[in-house]
């Protein structure tokens, strides 16, 4: 029952109602431009934003809720985790503020309370605590007046997306953004323009990012024991050699005398 969001760029009119609904339900304060913000509209107080592109294209940016999230895999205390419902949620009680999740996210989504002395990671959690848990859909998809962004089962949304492409092959680029990217995401996009700018690289590949660190992490016990064994062995050989040398030396000395 992994839920997802499908955003159709061709339908979005850029009314920003999703942004204000998000602010309201998550009790986010008024957004003021700060020096540490990126220019994509997201901030600690703005968990979703509309990016305007030429020719009336409005792209809603939010957390992609990856199926195998890099942020959750790198968090040393497991403060971020992917729930069965599809949302990647954050437990501020565990967090120690290392910001590794911000470094690891290929979309650059998590934001930080830079001005606070007790700062937390801030990002879209798919209204997990307020709505998703009760079986309701997130505030942003509910309020959308033109159904540009819709909520549902991920499988069904993928079907809808492919159906739309099939019905209007000229209108859309034949690709559902988020279907396979970095192992798939729970926030999908249909578009008539390239959405590569939403991530750090226009081609993210289909390999889930946690798999890049997995081989290194799996070899940790072997490296640990192996190094210990190697050092012990080396030590044994060298000692043995020294002993032999000593014996030989002694022998040589005695024979000379």
């Amino acid at each position: 029952m992994s839920k997802a969001i499908l955003t159709d760029i061709t339908k979005c009119i850029g009314c920003l109602k999703c942004v204000s609904a998000c602010k309201e339900i998550n009790n986010l304060e008024m957004d003021v431009p700060r020096v540490w913000q990126k220019n994509d509209g997201l901030s600690a107080e703005n968990w979703t934003s509309i990016i305007q592109k030429p020719d009336d294209h409005y792209i809603r940016k939010q957390c992609r809720h990856c199926l195998e999230p890099a942020c959750a895999s790198v968090c040393p205390v497991g403060a971020l985790h992917k729930t069965d419902s599809g949302a990647v949620i954050y437990d501020s009680d565990k967090c120690l503020g290392c910001r590794y999740c911000m470094m690891a996210c290929p979309y650059g989504i998590p934001r930080y309370d830079w001005d606070s002395t007790v700062p937390y990671i801030r990002k879209c959690i798919l209204c997990y605590n307020t709505r998703l848990k009760e079986g309701e859909q997130p505030a942003c998809t509910e309020i959308c007046p033109v159904n540009a962004t819709i909520f549902g089962e991920r499988k069904e949304l993928l079907k809808i997306a492919h159906q739309r492409i099939k019905d209007n092959p000229d209108k859309y680029i034949n690709k559902v953004w988020g279907e396979h990217e970095v192992g798939g995401t729970s926030v999908l996009y249909l578009s008539d323009i390239d959405l590569g700018f939403l991530s750090y690289n226009t081609n993210l590949g289909t390999k889930p990012l946690p798999e890049t660190t997995a081989p290194a992490m799996e070899s940790v016990p072997f490296a640990f024991v192996g190094m210990g064994g190697f050092m012990l062995g080396l030590n044994w050989i060298i000692r043995r050699r020294m002993e032999l040398k000593k014996e030989n030396g002694n022998k040589g000395k005695t024979s000379n005398e």
Partner: protein
């Protein structure tokens, strides 16, 4: 001149400065002191203090492996200092981490909340365990001085080999897992640095760095205490480092060749040049220096070679940890002076502790003496002559305390007020609405223009009722616009213009005319505006009695949103047009005249800072 004393003085000065920054970091947060941002969440502190610190501590495990495992007895004089450096290096890492973490008091969470998938989790555990092991490894040295702890010392000495072995095993993990940290960022790190075998590269380079760190440290401390350098040992280390650096170079180039990135080295981008410089400094030139026996034996080349490796490898860590990501993130992070100060301060504290330990415990074969260090017996105050006995020794302590206090004070004074207290809010100036009969208002600076028929409103409200809208007016000038006092979009600003009252005034106002004579000339001791300007209209200003002549930020003054305010107003109105409906005012569309003034507005220089959409005016329908 005394080399040791002067070095210590400089270290204390830096420490004091850094202490001031650290205080501000904890009181006002990371944003107030660092240039970290949402695109570059890891900066100098992680890059140099943590990554570099761990790398610099590599000397400890390398030299213990050489001495205890490989039984090269001749390196004995270097072992204790190297272990001490490693221990202090790790303490410095932890210190740096505590400043950098957003919630440093939660650092122990790694012990109870486990996520074994995370490289940082592994790094964290390695730091904890290895610091403990290093403490056990080194503690026999200070314990030597206290005979009552002889039993503990003997116990520790018995297990020394185990500690050494554990230390090497943990270091292997730790040095390599620092590389694993960056495996998750294939899209951010420039391809020349990103590699699937980053952990292996980090480990090999750590061994090279460890060897050279031991050499460099030996050279520095001998220079500091003016003793004969251990040239022959350093030369041997140099011989070994050629092999390690050779392997490192081959591994790195082979990896680039296999992944087909070799061509990128000469692609001419700034990253490729950076890569060439890094390889030259960290690997190729040192190999050249240490491969030639004639150079290797010479003290001067040992200095150059070892410094190049140490600097080059730390540079490599900083490159992987941030610099090479700048292209992908499109950010232009450069550390603030406060970040640099703290980084230097952490190093200074570690160095001071190092000097203290080698002067007071048996770390070196011959324990060095600071010529002006404290004597065993504390100085005493002689009441008859009213002087301290043994003052020359206290003088150095006094000097250091003074240095610390003074540089701390300087640090506090240097804190940039805007950055510390400004909450990172950008300065967005508010400008006057343009146009004459009709004003074009871009009230929220969000590019939603409103054409406001000013002339109509004057007619409607009446000629002399300006203050119905213009709530505060200056004497003799009744209709101040909002922007004249609310000059900043998001910040409260002072609206009392001191200069205009003194310098530009025709009235020749003197200080005592406003400020109470004999008292500090502050806002508190000054007269109220209304005392001189009885015509001043304060009807809507509540806090004027506080003498805080601050105008709210423009957005606060406008209740954040024009539309929401209009909605409230619309409910109050009876038999009036619905002001919350855009079409009430915008029914006629833009007139030609209005279109021209909007264009003027957009072309004027103060609009350069906002990105404007194309304004599509509707057809003129007459006004």
């Amino acid at each position: 001149m005394n080399r040791v004393q002067n070095t210590k003085l400089v270290l204390w000065l830096i420490t004091g400065l850094a202490a001031a920054v650290v205080l501000n970091r904890f009181v006002f947060g990371l944003g107030a002191t660092t240039n970290l941002n949402d695109a570059t969440p890891w900066g100098l502190w992680i890059g140099v203090d943590v990554m570099g610190g761990v790398a610099l501590a590599a000397g400890g495990f390398v030299i213990t492996a050489i001495f205890y495992i490989m039984k090269r007895e001749e390196f004995h004089p270097l072992v204790k200092p190297a272990v001490l450096t490693a221990f202090l290096g790790y303490l410095a890492v932890i210190m740096g981490l505590l400043f950098d973490l957003g919630l440093p008091w939660n650092i122990w969470h790694m012990i109870i909340y486990w996520n074994p998938h995370s490289p940082l989790f592994e790094v964290g555990w390695c730091v904890m365990l290895y610091t403990a092991v290093l403490l056990l490894e080194f503690s026999p040295v200070p314990l030597e001085k206290f005979s009552r702890y002889a039993k503990i010392r003997n116990f520790l000495m018995k297990f020394r080999f185990v500690f050494v072995l554990l230390g090497i095993m943990l270091s292997t993990l730790h040095q390599s897992s620092l590389g694993s940290l960056f495996l998750i960022m294939p899209f951010k790190i420039y391809p020349l640095w990103y590699s699937n075998i980053l952990p292996i590269q980090f480990f090999i380079s750590a061994v090279a760095l460890g060897l050279m760190m031991v050499a460099f440290e030996s050279l520095v401390s001998h220079w500091l205490y003016r003793r004969a350098p251990e040239t022959h040992l350093v030369a041997k280390l140099g011989k070994a480092v050629v092999w390690v650096l050779g392997i490192y170079f081959i591994v790195k180039i082979t990896d680039l060749a296999v992944t087909g990135k070799l061509g990128l080295i000469f692609s001419g981008t700034w990253e490729s040049n950076l890569f060439i410089i890094e390889i030259l400094i960290s690997t190729l030139i040192p190999i050249l220096i240490f491969a030639i026996p004639r150079l290797r034996e010479k003290n001067r080349y040992q200095w150059i070679g070892s410094f190049m490796v140490v600097f080059g490898m730390v540079f490599n860590r900083v490159n992987v940890g941030g610099i090479t990501m700048l292209s992908a993130t499109g950010d232009s992070y450069f550390p603030s002076w406060m970040e640099i100060t703290v980084t230097l301060g952490v190093i200074s504290v570690a160095a001071l502790v190092f000097l203290f330990v080698i002067e007071h415990f048996h770390v070196w074969e011959i324990q060095p003496k600071d010529p002006q260090s404290l004597p065993e017996t504390p100085p005493s105050f002689d009441y008859s002559s009213r002087a301290w006995l043994g003052t020359p020794d206290v003088a150095s302590l006094t000097k250091f305390s003074l240095a610390f206090v003074i540089s701390f004070a300087i640090g506090m004074a240097l804190m940039p007020e805007q950055k510390i207290l400004g909450k990172g809010i950008e300065d967005v100036k508010v400008y006057r609405a343009s146009g004459k009969d009709t004003l074009i208002i871009n009230g929220n600076r969000d590019n939603y223009f409103v054409a406001f028929p000013h002339k109509d409103h004057i007619k409607r409200i009446g000629e002399n009722n300006c203050n119905k809208c213009h709530h505060l007016t200056l004497p003799g000038y009744q209709e101040n616009s909002c922007w004249e006092c609310h000059t900043s979009m998001y910040k409260a600003t002072a609206f009392f213009k001191h200069d205009e009252h003194t310098l530009n005034s025709n009235a020749h106002i003197k200080c005592d005319d406003c400020h109470t004579p004999g008292k500090n000339r502050t806002a508190e001791t000054a007269k109220n505006c209304i005392d001189c300007h009885p015509k001043y209209n304060f009807q809507n200003l509540n806090n004027v009695s506080d003498k805080k002549y601050y105008a709210l930020s423009y957005t606060d003054a406008m209740h954040n949103l024009c539309v929401s305010c209009h909605m409230i107003k619309a409910k109050e109105l009876k038999d009036k047009p619905n002001l919350a409906q855009c079409s009430t005012c915008h029914k006629t569309g833009f007139t030609k005249k209005l279109e021209a003034s909007i264009k003027w507005e957009i072309s004027s220089p103060h609009f350069n800072q906002v990105i404007l959409p194309e304004v599509k005016p509707t057809v003129e329908k007459g006004e």
